[in-house]
Amino acid sequence: MSTGWAASPSELLMRAATRAAGRRRSAVRRRLTLIAGLAMLGIAVAAILLAPVLVSQSPTTIDALNPLAPPLTPGHLLGTDQFGRDVLARILYGGRIDLAIAFGATIVTLVGGTIIGLVAGYLGGRWDSFLMRIVDLFFAFPFLVLVIAIIAMLGPSIFNMFVAIWITSWVAYARIMRAQTVVAKRQQYVLAARALGYGRLRVMLRHILPNVVSAVIIFSMVDAVGNIILAASLGFLGLGAQPPAPEWGTMIADGQNYILSAWWLATIPGLAVVFVGVAFSLIGDGLADILRPGDR
């Protein structure tokens, strides 16, 4: 296959990520990337889960006397929006939706795509070519357009956003996993396991999977960044979370209307997305360094 068709964007990203890992770094610095990422993610998750303790305001309480208060106003650390709702509270409560997508959408597609890729790659034959044709087909569409089209048909809601991502996102994992499995099944240790008379399931799950799973795990971190951006994007377009529920993308969309008078409304939720995105990126880089040290 020529590279033009063989390499999917996801694979290329993954390769780039694993190649980046090829840079020789000391063991301490390697761990540092991972620790920094985990710490950032930990802070974000803790702040979002502890929102009721951290802020006294509710994210939807309207304070008509205090609209568009700038950040650092007493009582409103990050200011208020056009209805006088506290921005910090909305960021913390709104993060629940974005992080739920980052975890919920990613884990389901990671597991589903991995199983499909593993089975297709190991069994080969008709099922393999059938599944890979489906994968090819999904890659023929721009990801975002396909997700929007599915949401258009199902109707905009948070749950349908999950469904649309589940339908479209497993293919990247399936493709990576299949490629890895096809290589692994010709390796000596797999042949040895089969020669010992182990069943297909045992060979797949106990022998192949542990040896190749690192590739999809590293990719899942890139994917999590993509999913959190996707959640915010759909919210921004009005196709995800619906008002008055706070969500980072919808907050940015609201803020765009006040861009001339209140810069913080659009800026701050975006910084929240970047913070969580960088956290996942760092975890991915750190994992790549640790899981595939030999990769150059």
């Binding site: 020529s2 569409f141 357009v145 048909m153 905009p156 921004f236 993308g249 975006g270 995105g277």
Partner: protein, 316 residues
């Protein structure tokens, strides 16, 4: 074997993919829960209107016949009738294509202008300021939602320092280039992340190639070795990355068009979702997919033209 030897097989592949694309876009409509006519009409539902819609979409026939109708219309250049615009879907879509194509081309060029020098320099001066700096910058931009970056650009370059317009498409070539600069830059930055990374890697591995040592030993000046041997080969390696990732770029246009209110396909798609104009959604999805297939094919041809090894490859 000629350098375009694998092209016929590729074309067969393209036809199969195009067929698959029509299947997916056709079945999209079946995802509508319940009665599509009810979803479209909402409160203005009457039995006569519903029957008209069913007949228009072919919903009163068996499913295989519906697909036949869909394909028949497609081959006659029809994508159905838009409920919202009250005119043929193809006409609505054609009207919205130019801004999107212009934006895609513009951002692709900008991305190349940004990432070629940076990626090459980062690969040459590995571990130095330019390498580390570009890594930090592009790690950040990878985590930035494109639409948010667009708004930040508006905030800086249209509100605080009013250099560029806040929205619109402009008129004439110069006008387009001026009006679309911020949107194109927004998309190009996101796209550059991947390009810089892969160009950097390609440069590093090309520097270690034996032909570079040979060229140096022949006494060719280092600058010339870099230009004629290293740079050329490194760029060759990223052409594939460039083509494949144009799909990302197209996703970017959907968002950025909405931020800058450009009258393109992305804006049309999102508006049609809220208008429940299903034929338009279906049509735009189809056009985007065909666009990507076209770009991929173009990438293959360009690659084969640049690198004789590609066309001769014996693959699956």
């Amino acid at each position: 074997m000629s350098r375009f030897g694998s092209l016929p097989r590729r074309l067969v592949h393209v036809v199969i993919v195009l067929f698959g694309i029509t299947l997916v876009t056709f079945f999209l409509l079946r995802l509508i829960p319940g009665d599509p006519a009810l979803a479209i009409l909402g409160s203005s539902y009457t039995r006569a209107r519903a029957q008209a819609i069913d007949a228009g979409l072919g919903l009163d026939r068996p499913i295989w016949s519906q697909y036949g109708l869909f394909m028949d219309r497609l081959f006659h250049g029809s994508l159905g009738f838009s409920f919202f615009y009250h005119e043929p879907t193809t006409r609505v879509i054609l009207r919205h294509i130019p801004p999107t194509l212009f934006l895609v081309a513009y951002s692709a060029v900008l991305a190349a202008l940004i990432s070629l020098p940076i990626g090459f320099a980062a690969g040459l001066h590995r571990g130095r300021v330019i390498d580390q700096g570009s890594r930090v910058f592009f790690t950040l931009s990878f985590a930035m939602p494109a639409f948010w970056l667009g708004i930040i650009f508006i905030l800086i370059f249209s509100v605080h320092v009013p250099v560029f317009p806040i929205s619109g498409f402009g008129s004439g070539l110069i006008g387009h280039l001026y009006y679309l600069f911020l949107p194109a830059l927004t998309i190009a930055l996101g796209f550059s992340t991947v390009l810089v990374r892969s160009l950097r890697t390609a440069t590093i591995s090309t520097l270690h190639a034996e032909f570079v040592d040979t060229a140096q030993m022949k006494g060719i000046p280092w600058r010339q070795v870099l230009r004629r041997h290293v740079f050329r080969n490194a760029v060759l390696a990223v052409v594939a990355v460039y083509g494949v990732n144009l799909a990302f770029l197209i996703s970017g246009t959907v968002l950025v068009e909405n931020v800058f209110s450009l009258p393109g396909l992305g804006t049309l798609l999102v508006n049609s979702v809220s208008d429940r104009d299903y034929p338009v959604v279906q049509g735009v999805t189809l056009v985007f997919a065909v666009l990507i297939v076209g770009i991929n094919l173009l990438t293959d041809v360009v690659q084969a033209a640049l690198d004789p090894r590609v066309g001769q490859e014996i693959g699956t």
